[in-house]
Symmetry: C2
């Protein structure tokens, strides 16, 4: 038996239903009925001062009147009583409570009320699911702690859903397909118990073999990531994150107060933790169907069997979209299929057996593929034909699928015709999908889970490039900038940081006068590049502050004067420390890239990689890696970016040396772990070719007083002692405002 | 009554079923039964030499024995008899035939047989649907000319499907949702009658109000485009093109012999014709559901009504994905909803009415949105709640939707629970979708159709930039290159073509000696750029053949020698005509772009637009426009490309002048229409800023002897007089091989 701090939510021995009711349509009545009629073995106490008894059992005035200990309180009381009720739970010694009622977080008053609720919760050490949630179902304990008219069948999938309405819809859908669950938890506002907590519980819950998660926002990214990593290392975790766009997040923020992070950072976080992301309800359903079969794929090599070309082509398209491999058919399979179908035409993957294929031939083709060592899973597509029983085909195919450990993902195309077939599949605990695409997607979840497991097995930081950087030096640079009241680093400062972390940087010298520039140019050797040097000017090229390919002393002198003039004109008042000089590098095969560090409001610092060049930020083509990176994950980041393709060999250009780029991404990851004061760092451009990688320019920002992550939760108390506002520590604008108040 | 050349396929007065059979499971029996039992009013003659009569009606030995005229032959004969049967049809004077039987095009023998079939077809002028197709259904004529056990209900949607198995699946699905069709045609191999023919027929078919097309390949792109344009100008056309990836196209080519064009070119062709593309079977079904309601949207502004936040957020995400506008709610709507729900919380779009909302309130919210002038359509999401009848909500909502001309797209989330609700929707001819995403997608098809109509209403070529180019001069340049046996144009030749079409080009002068270079540099003014000039070297930068920013005479002389040496080393034997010089342009705000002309194997010449720069082709980020372009379509091409975002204002950079870029795209479109010999033309880079657009370099290829499009179909006849191989005129490699044979 698990002894997790959430155990009483899922395996309580005694429950108090507070706000229990006699009115049949009220939540307080329904939750009581769900518990009493569902076969729950422990004690269930009704609490409501209005009644002496409900349905023949006594009703207590308050939870404190119950003599026996209470493991779990389910609160369906009206909103206005919530605070009192939770306080009474605290006094009674109840340590777990599910708050079904709403707390109106939509309004400012609502926020204050929720903050007060949380302060009571913290005072008594009560863990709280909700408010405004559907509740919890644990079929093995015959526990249905919801006010819903739906229940869950027992199974091995844990379902964790933010939205109660969506949870209802999934339960309804699952019931009609006889898909069961180990645990269902709807978190609603997730004011206290968060996704991270539930994941942490489910990771070691032996009843749960896989986890499906729907969420809209994360309040506690660190807890979330640690729970997600723990769970995804052991079992498949499928995540649907809604609110991908800010127009949709508007509603989310209003409801849950979650911060708006970038969607690609969320993607990277899931990849880093080893979870698989789905993007639509259809895909979530498909994932549920395939997880319920408990078959797993050990690779991404797919065979498609079909009795018609049309659906097979559609499935193959989707497979390529998703990066799956369509295995080449073994010659023996081809030969056997040719003799079975008495056909001289070639069989390739997808296998088109044609409309009139016999049930036994169809099943045999599926079996041959399942037996092939080069195949990790089979998608079986069938479209009904006159004079052939689609059911017979289904039965024959299910019989061969049962013998294999590999997943068989079927789609019998059409409408109501296949009701009977659906029943066969349900009875055989096999997955039947509505469309060819859904079947292929379901296989991809299995394949991606397997791939993620491989990524996670990598030992972090065990790279050939291991290097102990001059961190002290780097810290001094940051402190010096902060002492001078700056939060942006000069190009030379940023480059020094890079050097400290073993990232190769072009040698840059600064000249304060034209004659100094002449001397430096001689020592570097011609041709040189010259750039304006100012802590106040970040994008030098944009204001005419860059001159390339300067070949003569005369030109150096002219450039020095032109550059300072251009800077003064473009940015009057900017502090100009001089002009920097670099030797021009003639990199014939160099790829212009951009790498760096940026900070996400939800997940904090991330490493970015993209293509470089003119105005590249407008196209926002970047891939994200969540530190700490390891070699395999860095490689994955590069592959996921469009810019990754820039590294391939192309015409006269040999392939760029990816290892050098990986090294730099790892060093950046190391840098942000060791120097959390860095808010942003840009290497732009980074030039990588077949033999070298070189940072040509860099810029950076640091957190002025303390990093966002060091700020405690800030609560503003109004004159009457009430909580006026709880600050989201990720909300930079508010935090800065608060800092300025503190500074006064 | 239409007098289209395909009319006898859909409105025949007499039909011969050739290969009619007594065996109940045979196609020849089933098609006869479908015709006789379906209520078809005309004559149906059975033809089969094996029988005297079938089901009490006479059976003819051959079609010629029938005394009356025959409008349509439906051929279910074994493959080996096909040629004889079609010949007999020709002799009898039948001019329309549907060939249900297969022709084994998978194999080489099959191809020969199909070619022979087509030569018979051509000799007699018979139009032929198939071979290997499901056939044709025309509910209004009670004509079911298929061997399927399914039929179609009468309706207003035309369904044209390449794959017979997929057609069966769609019919099955549609039947269970009572969605009807005006016409169903499954084309199978489409050896003669092609998608273009059917579209041409359906464009003016007054029974058809919208068209759904599934296809895998196009053999006759010109006919296809002309039919598609004709149809899409009048009614919504939804297209699903399968075989988007080459792995999937392998199976398609094997089956249909269709050429493999680029998928983005197909996309551009659909956009150019005004059709809407879907990418999955789910989306095809959603499109069918929404088209069957016959509501149309007049814009892309969407309101989402929901009784829960979760599904609403998911719908909003999808809406943003698809470029739809989530309208801001009118204050009066907000006020009425607040008073109806007695809530102080803000209502925004999506409208979250919360779980417990009453049926009348939900319906009223939907009505308010439908009445709002700023809303073009409403997505209504409902998740069932205990103690509230989901049916009542559906009825109330359907009642208000009926009163509006705008589309209401509903999704009642869940599984079997909503069977009764589904029936309500079906009875009201309203669309009910399985997921929030499907409902939003369905609205997007209506909105995109409307947008396409606007694009098409533009008068092509009526631009402010109208200019009569020096076409004669351009032709001479191409002829000169061909006379010299070259198929690639030098940079100067390519630039001269651009100048002839009013595309601004950097002034380029060629020097054959170092001292000539010095003189030219003086006349251009320093700094200059120098590039190697050779008809054999296209990518000069890649071999070190480019020097930029040369500021002094000494450097010009050094560069001349370096460049010629570098070229000789990199490409021994290359013809070097000298070195070109240009004045360096200091374009502070210039965007580096790439535009040009390329040729697609299916659709021929297309205009391309993408970002420029180092190795950009590796990222394949381009948008395609099918000529002739007009201003609105050129604008659309720019918006569709990632690179379009490069033109926006950004930090110190003012927005680039899009009109200049549009002008260039229009001129390229004009060029390819007037000079079809051009195979490829690249302007790379094209620099565009806020005041100018300038082509810095260009290259091009022309068709050597004659353009691919001038080649007739080539048929190789073997020694015994049989067709050995039919060449696909789009297959460049084969065509070139043939050319070399002809040249000998």
């Amino acid at each position: 038996m698990t002894t997790h701090y959430l155990r009483n939510f899922f395996n309580p021995t005694s429950i108090a239903v507070i706000g229990a009711s006699k009115r049949p349509e009220s939540p307080g009545h329904r939750v009581l009925q769900n518990l009493r009629n569902g076969g729950f073995k422990g004690d269930v106490f009704a609490v409501n001062p209005k009644y002496r008894s409900i349905s023949g059992e006594p009703s207590y005035r308050k939870v404190g009147d119950i003599q026996q200990p209470v493991d779990l309180a389910i609160i369906a009381s009206p909103e206005r009583c919530l605070h009192d009720v939770v306080r009474q739970c605290g006094e009674k010694g109840v340590r777990s409570a599910i708050v079904l009622s709403g707390a109106q977080t939509y309004t400012a008053t609502g926020e204050v009320q929720q903050e007060q609720l949380l302060s009571i919760q913290r005072r008594y050490g009560i863990r709280l699911i909700g408010p405004e949630c559907l509740g919890v179902i644990r079929p093995s304990a015959k526990l249905n702690a919801t006010a819903s008219d739906l229940n869950a069948l027992p199974g091995k999938i844990a379902l964790v859903v933010q939205s109660g309405t969506l949870c209802t819809a999934i339960l309804d859908w699952a019931q009609s397909r006889q898909i069961g669950f180990s645990t269902v938890a709807s978190l609603g506002d997730a004011a206290d118990v968060e996704f991270g907590d539930i994941l942490d519980f489910l990771a070691t819950d032996y009843e749960t073999r896989s986890i499906m998660l729907h969420l809209e926002g994360v309040r506690e990214p660190r807890r979330f990531m640690s729970g997600l990593r723990a769970a995804a290392r052991i079992k498949p975790v499928i995540v649907m994150k809604a609110g991908r766009h800010s127009a949709a997040m508007q509603l989310v923020s209003m409801r849950t107060g979650a911060a708006k992070g970038a969607d690609d950072v969320f993607d990277a976080a899931l990849a880093r933790a080893g979870a698989v992301r789905v993007r639509s309800i259809d895909q979530l359903f498909a994932a549920a169907a395939v997880l319920s079969t408990e078959r797993r794929a050990f690779g991404n090599r797919l065979a498609i069997v079909s009795n018609g070309g049309g659906p097979a082509v559609i499935a193959a398209d989707r497979a390529v979209d998703l990066g799956l491999t369509l295995t080449d058919l073994d010659a023996t399979i081809h030969n056997e299929l040719s003799s079975l179908t008495e056909s001289r035409r070639p069989f390739t993957n997808p296998i088109d057996l044609r409309a009139g294929v016999a049930a036994q031939t169809y099943a045999r083709a599926t079996e041959l593929c399942l037996q092939d060592e080069a195949v990790d899973g089979v998608v079986a597509l069938y479209s009904s034909q006159p004079a052939i029983s689609a059911n017979e085909v289904a039965e024959a195919t299910l019989a061969v699928a049962k013998k294999s450990r590999k997943p068989m993902l079927a789609c019998w195309l059409g409408g109501d015709k296949h009701q009977e077939t659906r029943q066969h599949f349900t009875n055989s605990r096999a997955a039947l999908f509505e469309t060819p695409e859904a079947a292929v997607e379901a296989f991809s979840y299995l394949a991606h889970h397997q791939r993620n497991q491989k990524l996670l097995l990598q030992v972090p930081g065990s790279t050939a490039f291991r290097y102990e950087p001059g961190i002290e030096n780097a810290r001094l640079i940051i402190e010096n900038a902060l002492d001078e009241g700056r939060d942006s680093l000069s190009s030379i400062e940023a480059k020094t940081l890079l050097t400290a972390f073993d990232i190769p940087v072009v040698r840059t010298l600064e000249a304060r006068t034209a004659s100094e520039a002449l001397m430096l140019a001689e020592s570097l050797g011609y041709p040189v590049a010259m750039k304006i040097s100012s802590p106040d000017i970040q994008r030098k090229a944009a204001i005419g502050g860059v001159r390339l390919n300067i070949e003569t002393p005369q030109a150096v002198r002219a450039a020095f004067n032109d550059l300072t003039l251009a800077a003064q004109n473009a940015r009057p008042g900017a502090r100009i420390s001089g002009v920097t000089l670099e030797r021009m590098h003639n990199q014939l095969h160099g790829r212009e890239l951009q790498v760096g560090i940026t900070s996400d409001p939800v997940f904090g610092p991330v490493v970015t990689f993209g293509s470089g060049g003119n105005l590249v930020e407008l196209t926002r083509n970047r891939a994200i890696g969540l530190p700490p990176l390891n070699e395999v994950i860095a490689k994955d980041v590069i592959q996921r970016a469009h810019a990754g393709r820039l590294l391939e060999a192309y015409e006269e250009h040999p392939a760029a040396d990816t290892r050098l780029l990986i090294h730099i991404l790892l060093q950046l990851s190391d840098m942000i772990c060791k120097l959390p004061h860095i808010r942003q760092l840009d290497i732009d451009p980074l030039i990588v070719d077949d033999t070298s990688a070189l940072a040509l320019d860099a810029s950076g920002d640091v957190y002025r007083a303390f990093g966002v992550r060091q700020i405690p939760t800030v609560v503003l108390i109004d004159s009457s002692g009430h909580v006026a506002k709880r600050l989201n520590p990720q909300d930079t604008a508010l935090v800065e405002a608060t800092q300025s108040i503190i500074a006064k």
